[in-house]
């Protein structure tokens, strides 16, 4: 490789690294939050979010639909590991109490907040995998196109499926709290 080619290559790499940093700064927290809501496991969500960005960097270029791509990769990572799936289910059903964060509230408030979190976790666990992902992606601000890409449905069906997922979640939450 001669000097001008190397210079072009270095410039492209620097440009990609800068785009990657911007995307990371804009999307890391959102991806972590989505994965934490999805799995109920903060450690797993952190590992997955970092692995997704590692793979994105190793890809060497940003996909057109970066957020849809990242959600798809995260879903695949989750699916690929059966042990992770077992662990996730166990956490979602049995250990919702360790999911709290922020400043320590008073004991009664904490109990209520813990009960609320358990109810939300139970309601989410009752949804189908697709409904759960769609609902959580929607509440991270994903567009119809990005949601469609991430869960593998047609863009035209996203709105209707989201309405039904929301209704199913509310029904499950009501049942869980009663």
């Amino acid at each position: 490789m001669n000097a001008p080619e190397r210079s072009d290559s270095e410039a492209r790499l620097a440009e990609f690294a800068e785009s990657f940093r911007q995307l990371f700064d804009a999307q890391y927290a959102s991806l972590f939050r989505y994965l934490h809501r999805l799995t109920g496991d903060a450690d797993l969500a952190e590992d997955l979010a970092q692995e997704v960005f590692v793979r994105l960097y190793q890809r060497g270029s940003l996909p057109d639909d970066s957020r849809g791509w990242m959600a798809t990769v995260a879903h695949n990572l989750l699916r690929d590991d059966k042990r992770t799936a077992k662990r996730r289910l166990h956490l979602m059903q049995s250990r919702p109490l360790d999911l709290g964060g922020g400043a320590a509230p008073a004991a009664d408030e904490k109990t209520l907040a813990d009960e609320r979190r358990q109810s939300v976790r139970r309601a989410l666990a009752k949804l189908s995998e697709r409904d759960r992902s769609m609902l959580l992606l929607r509440h991270e601000g994903y567009s119809y196109r990005e949601v469609a890409h991430a869960v593998g449905v047609s863009e035209a069906s996203v709105g209707t499926l989201l309405l039904r997922a929301t209704a199913a979640f509310q029904a499950a939450l009501e049942e869980s709290e009663s």
């Binding site: 450690d43 939300v120 609902l135 709105g159």
Partner: protein, 255 residues
């Protein structure tokens, strides 16, 4: 959608567009709002759906935890070291498989009544060579590195090694070394690991002896088994021994 008769009620697609995709399709919104102006039933339905959406947002926010700190620089460093770590781990597996095959084949051939032995005698007719193990050259020893993980952490990033597997036992030999890589391995290969830039999680393992090497330059390291902190190397603690053994069963330190 703009051709829809104003007298027919809104479809789920139109209602969803008003809730989830506001501002993205002006045509649908214009005709939908024209209908809502004259239809109390659809207005009420839209109100209920928006309420459910708001309640869902609030419920989901209640399970959030603070986002752990992370930086693009750390991810890039991890991405650049990732392929090397994977290749190394993959190499260990291949080497271990080859070694295991050599050992099994040699053992099978050395047993006089074994099918492998009989096959070799039949095929080569050189029973003498096979039947006299004392003159048979032993297979060359194959150096096999134990399975594990290895990567270069950021010098300023705290690192946590967390044993999360149930039924964990055995021990961890910790060595402070002069290199720049963190390495964790166990001899029997039963452990599975999850690795990020700031954490190594040991998810499943039989009781065994782990070897952990920590670069001297890494100032903050903590080893946990579940919630119990078994080892900590922090900037405030200047005197960390170069070699420490932790008992994972009883959480005891041996020096």
């Amino acid at each position: 959608m703009s051709g829809r008769a104003e007298s027919s009620h809104l479809t789920e697609t139109e209602l969803a567009a008003l809730i989830y995709a506001a501002g993205q399709n002006r045509d649908i919104e214009r005709t939908a709002y024209a209908h809502l102006a004259i239809c109390a039933e659809c207005t009420q339905l839209l109100g209920e759906m928006r309420e459910a959406d708001g309640a869902t947002r609030k419920a989901l926010a209640s399970i959030d935890v603070p986002t752990p700190p992370a930086s693009a620089a750390t991810i890039i460093r991890l991405a650049q070291g990732h392929a090397r770590s994977f290749k190394l781990a993959h190499g260990w597996r291949v080497a271990a498989s080859v070694a295991a095959l050599v050992v099994v084949a040699a053992a099978a051939a050395a047993i006089p009544a074994s099918p492998v032995h009989r096959f070799l005698v039949r095929t080569f007719g050189a029973g003498d060579r096979i039947a006299r193990p004392a003159t048979t050259p032993s297979p060359a020893p194959v150096a096999v590195a134990p399975p594990g993980v290895s990567f270069v952490p950021g010098p300023d990033s705290p690192l946590e090694i967390v044993f999360t597997g149930s039924g964990m036992g055995g021990s961890v030999n910790i060595r402070i070394v002069d290199g720049d890589r963190v390495s964790l391995s166990n001899q029997d290969g039963s452990a599975t690991y999850s690795v990020s830039s700031t954490r190594i999680s040991i998810n499943e393992s039989r009781p065994g002896v782990f070897q952990l090497e920590i670069p001297r330059s890494l100032r903050e390291v903590r080893v946990r088994a579940g919630d119990s902190v078994l080892f900590e190397r922090a900037p405030a603690r200047k005197s960390s021994a170069d070699s420490v053994t932790i008992d994972l069963t009883g959480s005891k330190l041996r020096r």
